[in-house]
């Protein structure tokens, strides 16, 4: 089974240990706690659970181990957040105004037609605002978001992130482009 990419019904730590079907995932974890390899910073504000080798509480590992499933409950609840009846477009920014931007939109399931749409900049998440520039790509979708027992219609804009280019990345891409350019036989 470990050689398969099938999605697992449950992940490690999703449920209390006694209910978990694959306890092997805990074995090395427990061994590391016992050997003092893990770190614990019990930050109540952020739910961060990391074991600290220098922490004197590492001797209390037995107590902390049983505390872990408690943290996982928040994770399990998040699984009840899902969207349905979603329609999606990929957009390319073609113009930016003071409070809005204009984009060329292609429906993801049917790229044969396109539309032009204008969006309020306020719809962009603050984290994504620096990505707004002519030519940048974003995904726009509308659909129904169910979060636990609440359901609402939602419009989502998420800008595409492919990562910062390092000098090595830039050189590699430039080399590829140069090779491609050299391989073209121009008609004389």
């Amino acid at each position: 089974m470990s050689e398969e990419t099938v999605i697992k019904d449950h992940w490690a730590l999703d449920f209390p240990m006694t209910e978990h079907s694959d306890k092997n995932e805990y074995v090395s974890f427990i061994e590391d706690v016992v050997s003092g390899d893990l770190k614990l910073i019990n930050d109540k504000n952020s739910d961060i659970l990391i074991f600290d080798q220098s922490d004197s509480r590492k001797n209390d590992f037995e107590f902390e181990l049983f505390a872990i499933p408690e943290y996982s409950k928040t994770f399990a609840i998040q699984k009840r957040k899902y969207t349905a009846k979603t329609q999606k477009w990929i957009g390319y920014v073609i113009d930016i105004k003071e409070n809005s931007f204009i984009a060329h939109l292609e429906e993801l399931n049917d790229s044969t037609t396109y539309e032009i749409g204008e969006f309020d900049k306020f719809e962009i998440l603050p984290d994504d605002l620096p990505l707004l520039s002519i030519g940048s790509t974003f995904y726009w979708s509308i659909g129904y978001l169910t979060n636990n027992s609440q359901r609402k219609k939602e419009s989502t804009i998420k800008f595409r992130r492919l990562g910062n280019l390092s000098v090595e990345d830039f050189d590699r891409i430039k080399d590829k482009a140069d090779n491609l350019f050299e391989s073209i036989n121009w008609e004389k």
């Binding site: 470990s2 398969e4 990419t5 730590l13 990391i50 943290y71 349905a84 984290d127 992130r161």
Partner: protein
């Protein structure tokens, strides 16, 4: 159309290989420009350990073990962003050896009533073959296409089972499609894997839809 009755669409990208879980933490992703800084700050971290890293952003759950890397979400607006995140991570970690990856589509549906639920099971695995049992029911069924028809190495697996997400109803079932690609050459580096994911992305969604559409005719046959 069965697809229109879909209630939940879970999606995941799974890669098998040799990974260093501790590297791929939220602030590393932010540092590489793959997520925003605020997203990294707000990440819900469950565990950071050399053998297992597990956290979630608002739109994706991330679990990394030394031999398994997995991104999953039940929010359709972000499926493309999951692909971009996967490609972004392994463009930065180009020497990561991988031996296979899978694109998983898990769709949850509601049957109209108990009779329809029974018919679905009965159509999949005729229950008159099980007359030695009293009131038999189908729990789950898994079928594999052992040799892919598109020429790639790998398998397509389809699993039908009761839904564990449609709570409050016993009439929910899910269809899971594992679009699995494996590599002849063990420990493939990321470049070829990323090219394959990009090129197969759309066809994976199309073939998942086609499987569902074709299954519909059989599932709801009276």
């Amino acid at each position: 159309m069965l697809l229109e009755k879909r209630q939940i669409y879970n999606f995941s990208l799974v890669a098998l290989g040799d990974f260093n879980p501790k590297i791929i933490q939220p602030f590393w992703l932010a540092n590489k420009g793959l997520i925003g800084e605020k997203e990294a700050e707000d990440a819900n971290i469950e565990l950071i350990h050399s053998e297992l890293v597990k956290y979630s952003l608002t739109w994706v759950d991330i679990q990394i073990q030394q031999n398994r890397f997995e991104l999953k979400s039940s929010q359709e607006p972000y499926f493309e962003s999951i692909r971009d995140l996967f490609i972004g991570i392994f463009s930065k970690l180009q020497e990561t050896p991988m031996k296979s990856f899978g694109i998983n589509h898990i769709m949850h549906f509601s049957a109209r009533d108990e009779q329809e639920m029974f018919n679905i099971g009965n159509n999949l695995a005729p229950l008159n073959n099980w007359d030695m049992l009293n009131n038999p029911r189908v729990l789950n069924l898994e079928i594999v296409e052992n040799k892919r028809s598109d020429g790639f190495d790998g398998k397509i697996r389809v699993k039908i089972q009761p839904s564990d997400l449609l709570i409050g109803s016993n009439m929910g079932f899910s269809i899971s499609i594992n679009d699995h690609y494996s590599f002849q050459e063990k420990n493939q580096t990321t470049d070829n894997v990323l090219k394959l994911i990009s090129s197969q992305w759309k066809s994976s969604f199309n073939s998942a839809q086609e499987i569902i559409n074709k299954l519909e005719e059989k599932l709801f046959r009276l």
